[in-house]
Amino acid sequence: MFKSALLLSTAIVAAFPAMAHERRDGGKLLLTGGVSSVDGAAGGGLASWALIAGDETEDGRGGSAHATYVALPDFDLTSAGVAAGFSNRVEISYAYQRFDTRKAGAALGLGRGFTFGQHVIGAKLRLAGDAVWDQDRLMPQVAVGVQYHIAEKAPVLRAVGARESESADFYIAATKILLAQGMVVNGTVRFTNANQFGLLGFGGDRHRGRSAQFEGSAGKLLAANLLAGVEYRTKPDNLGFAQEDDSYDLFVAWAFHRHASLTAAYVDLGDIATVKRQRGLFLSLQGSL
């Protein structure tokens, strides 16, 4: 992990061209910094995209902060985090997720209101392409990223079969705005061994190592400040005690202010820890500079 982080930071330093122009914060076109995904990286609601967080262009710094609440029939998932963008090239993010088992906690033998939690520290580097301006090329904006997860309640995670309570996800994302069609599309391949985004630890009795998972998003611009779309995210199925399902959502992201947006979604996370059909409402408020 630390070797990869070192490699990534070396690549980040090498990626900066000589900067002879005036530095200047802000100025990114509306919504082209994406919204905050549950993992804290700029993206859609569930998927991490190749866009870089914040309102900055290649000439400045920017940042965003988010609070997300996912209300499910038997659980609550909340996430809060911050991200910083540098020169529309590098993104650093942090998110804390809290997963409240409410009444189901008692049924699962964890105790009513038992809460899982995890920290997600992310870094993303835009490698090539421009999702917004290169409208005469099919080449998407491509970024690679790492998300280091530190899950809480390690003894409980081990008891359900997880191998580790900390692990890194590696991903490559490609995002393109097809402006003439009014579309935004994204595809991400994530190498991960996270159980339920990492809230239930990493690896399991069925599979230990990372596998390639896919995140796909497609959205239609309804207005300059309004994007509606769908996302699909596959997940590993590492734990023997409960089958883990893929997830999807139908979302609307609305930039109601230059520096603030609201994302609302219908989200289906499938079965979670033997509790069936966790579908509900995803609400995320984001501010950006």
Partner: protein, 167 residues
């Protein structure tokens, strides 16, 4: 053999349109518009033809010179000429039957130090002008998709800068 058309070209350019400041001669060519026109007439209709494009460009220029983010860039520039050449450029790209007589994008924006944020501000002002003209959102985006790649030759004049010592 070929000097007669050149002389004719220089003669046509020598006549500065009324209200405009004279500019150094340059070859006129529709390729200077920086993109190829739409194939059909639907876009021209979506922009309400000559009258609509006229209103959008007048609105855009007025908004830009009043916009504190980018107003400095327009100081000392010939606004009469800008309005005329922008209307020609839009008319040409929207397949409205005009020729573009302005300079190429790189030449027209040379040494202005235009940054991404400036271009984004102009895009926002253009979006607002198109909205006020009630151009459909889909038609707005089709035009913007044609204009967006011009960033490569407008913002920072990257290629020119790199060739210039100390640039």
């Amino acid at each position: 053999m070929s000097f007669v058309p050149i002389i004719l070209l220089l003669m046509t350019q020598a006549a500065t349109p009324p209200g405009e400041q004279p500019v150094a001669p340059y070859p006129h060519h529709n390729a200077n518009a920086g993109a190829t026109p739409f194939a059909d007439a639907r876009m021209w209709q979506a922009f309400h033809e000559s009258a609509g494009v006229g209103r959008i460009v007048d609105d855009l220029v007025a908004t830009n010179i009043a916009d504190p983010r980018i107003s400095d860039i327009f100081k000392g520039q010939d606004m009469v000429r800008l309005r005329r050449t922008l209307k020609e450029q839009f008319c040409y790209l929207l397949n409205g039957g005009c020729d573009y007589s302005g300079r190429a994008m790189a030449a027209a924006h040379a040494d202005m130090g235009i940054q991404d944020a400036d271009m984004a501000a102009l895009v926002e002002n253009l979006q607002a002008a198109m909205r006020r003209e009630h151009v459909s959102f889909a038609a707005q985006n089709r035009l913007l998709a044609k204009l967006a790649p011009m960033r490569r030759t407008i913002v920072k004049q990257r290629d020119l800068d790199r060739r210039r010592p100390g640039g």
